[in-house]
């Protein structure tokens, strides 16, 4: 994952609540076995059906509970591949939020009024280190977990970090209650 520090530029707006991952990337595109190339299928039915227009910009402002439903990481892959580097919304679904942070797509929570202000401003500058969104309407703060921020700023791979801790996993496993034994190979 590449480091994420400053995200700056024009803003696209999708003013709808409860946008689910089935809309972000419909199921027929989940059959690919690669991680790339999902951008052209983003919001496939809504865009093809002429329901919405969406420009490829660095920042997307969305409605509450964005990314609800399926755990498909294809949704953040598609948003990122389309060109978005950050999504601002009043709230996100848990799994979607976590999936975004794993690939360096910044999810930032701003209340509805501030989301609207950024949308109206049309451009913004997001500083991950300072945890701020700056636009014509003002400087808005958002919160992000310190370890998530650390990973984003440094472009760190979660697995690499965890494997540095391999001794702790060994210790945990050898402490051994019965659920620590084989589960699936004894069937």
């Amino acid at each position: 994952m590449r480091p994420v520090d400053i995200i700056e530029g024009k803003v696209s707006v999708l003013d709808r609540a409860d946008v689910d991952t089935d809309q972000i990337i419909p199921k027929q595109f989940l059959k690919r076995v690669e991680r790339t190339g999902f951008g052209e299928f983003l919001f496939y039915d809504w865009i093809r059906g002429g329901e919405i227009e969406l420009e490829s910009n660095p920042i997307l402002v969305a409605g509450r509970n964005f990314g609800c439903g399926s755990s498909r990481e294809h949704a953040p892959w598609a948003l990122e591949d389309f060109g978005f580097q950050a999504i601002l919304a009043p709230s996100f679904a848990d799994i979607f939020y976590s999936n975004c942070t794993k690939i360096g797509l910044l999810p930032a929570i701003l209340d509805e009024q501030r989301c609207r202000a950024v949308a109206e401003a049309g451009e913004a500058r997001i500083d991950v280190d300072d945890e701020t969104v700056t636009c014509a309407a003002g400087v808005f703060e958002f919160a992000i977990e310190p370890d998530v921020k650390h990973r984003l700023l440094n472009g760190l791979d979660d697995i690499g970090i965890t494997l540095e801790n391999a001794a702790a996993i060994d210790t945990f496993e050898s402490a051994g209650t019965t659920t620590h034994g084989p589960v699936t190979t004894t069937l």
Binding site: D22, Q23, V33, R35, G63, C68, G69, S70, I159, T162
Partner: protein
């Protein structure tokens, strides 16, 4: 300080701050190929194949195709064959097409007995919350996290908040676990449980058999919850006893599992109370599971809604669903009926539906299908003669898979078709582009198939 069941599970699995050990990792063909590819690129292996189990479910045709290489759709075939190759390469047990243990991942875990109380369970699928019905901490993860668990058997997790939903009273006749969870989501909203691990409690929950408990935990994600869970009890232990994956020292395991339930006086971040006795059979009218009413109600009027966002969403939903505000739900007429999915495709669900259709005929305007959740469910149902009941009534009886729950296989709705579905999501296009989904219980779906419109199952005979 008294502890919640969640607290106990979390603390028992914490390897270090924010790093949780995973006891069971379930894998399917859709969300895993990129994870295995990531392992290969980094030269990493699977740490604990003996705690990992794979099956093919999302993509599989339900028409009797009994081997991956025979799947007609090329992309689906490649995905299932890729899963087979990956499992072979990394030594992961797999029940693919053709196996008598193949089925929907959230059906086969419990039926094989690998889903057990006290475990942490993950899968690259949001409905992993199903397994919480056993007193496990179970939740869906994304593909990057699948790769992380394969490589480390651990997951980086922020501790969620806790919520308890307590149900007072008992469910009325004809009212099922599906109605209970739909009513709960209707009350709390699709984002009402976000950030929480949710424990369901009270006599109405304790009275349920395991399949009903699984239906409730399954749909926790539709309320935005991270995980759903129910305290294990004798009903739980009896389910696991004798299953192929049950612990060898079963009695010792039961003693350990009995320590899991939330202690008296333990505090939750959020407490919710619901009157179970007041719940009616439910039907969704819109495009989120929270857009739901009692079957005795009418399609709501967006003009009556307080918030502009809700009003706009409701207007859009009604336009998509082709419904007029004020129409009684019992006048809404589905052309398709789907009984299946990880929410409601276990043997008990099929028995409930079969009891409704026994000796009757599907309405001429309806095409109805039953898709058992697993090959084992199918075999059990056939041994009981349920397939004959369904077939004589005019239902299609199919092979195990996710089928029309998400339309990644040939089972889909066509544009504008209206479906009574026992699945979990009524999102736009979920069951096929332009398809209109109404979520209901297996009984309600079965009755709608017979009558050609929704009926109140309580006064239908």
């Amino acid at each position: 300080m008294p502890k919640t069941m969640f607290d106990k599970l979390w603390e028992a699995h914490q390897v270090s701050e924010g790093l949780i050990y995973i006891d069971l990792h379930l894998v399917h063909e859709v969300t895993s190929p990129q994870a295995f590819e990531g392992l290969r690129l980094a030269g990493r292996g699977v740490r604990r194949p003996d705690k990992t189990l794979a099956t093919a479910d999302h993509n599989v045709p339900t028409d009797g195709t009994m081997a991956a290489r025979l799947i007609a759709d090329e992309l689906s075939r490649i995905q299932v064959e890729t899963l087979e190759r990956n499992c072979e390469e990394f030594g992961i047990p797999l029940y693919s097409l053709g196996s008598e243990r193949q089925g929907i991942v959230h059906v086969i875990g419990p039926e094989l007995g690998v889903t057990q109380p006290g475990m942490t369970i993950v899968c690259g699928d949001s409905h992993t919350s199903t397994h919480g019905a056993f007193g496990a901490l179970a939740f869906g993860i994304g593909t990057s996290e699948v790769e992380h668990v394969l490589a480390t058997q651990c997951l980086v997790q922020k501790r969620p908040k806790t919520m308890r939903i307590s149900y007072a009273g008992e469910l009325g006749a004809g009212v099922t676990s599906k109605d209970l969870i739909l009513a709960t989501i209707g009350k709390l909203g699709t984002g009402g449980m976000v950030g929480h691990a949710v424990e369901y409690a009270g006599p109405a929950i304790e009275a349920l058999a395991m399949p009903g408990r699984m239906t409730i935990c399954n749909m926790t994600i539709e309320g935005g919850g991270r995980a759903g869970m129910i305290a294990p009890d004798e009903t739980t232990f009896e389910w696991v006893r004798g299953k192929p994956g049950a612990p060898a020292d079963f009695d010792t395991a039961v003693e350990r599992w009995k320590q899991l339930p939330t202690e008296a006086g333990a505090e939750f971040d959020t407490e919710v109370e619901v009157d179970a006795a007041a719940i009616s059979p439910m039907v969704t009218w819109g495009t989120t599971p929270g857009m739901v009413v009692q079957v005795t109600d009418s399609v709501p009027d967006p003009a009556q809604m307080d918030s502009p966002a809700d009003r706009e969403a409701a207007e859009r939903a009604l336009a998509y669903m082709g419904l007029e505000a004020g129409t009684p739900m019992t006048e809404v007429a589905p052309e398709r009926v789907f009984i299946g999915s990880c929410t409601s495709s276990r043997i008990e669900d099929l028995r409930e539906a079969a009891a409704v259709v026994d000796g009757r005929r599907v309405a001429g305007s309806v095409r109805a299908m039953v898709v058992p959740g697993s090959q084992q469910v199918k075999a059990e149902a056939e041994a009981e003669g349920l397939h004959d009941v369904f077939r004589s009534a005019g239902f299609e009886w199919r092979e195990a898979g996710c089928s029309m729950c998400l339309g990644m296989n040939p089972d889909t709705l066509i544009e504008g078709e209206r479906c009574a579905s026992t699945s979990n999501r009524n999102f736009e296009g979920r069951q096929g582009k332009g398809g209109r989904t109404h979520l209901v219980s297996p009984k309600m779906a079965a009755a709608a198939a017979i009558e050609g419109h929704f009926v109140d199952i309580r006064d239908w005979s």
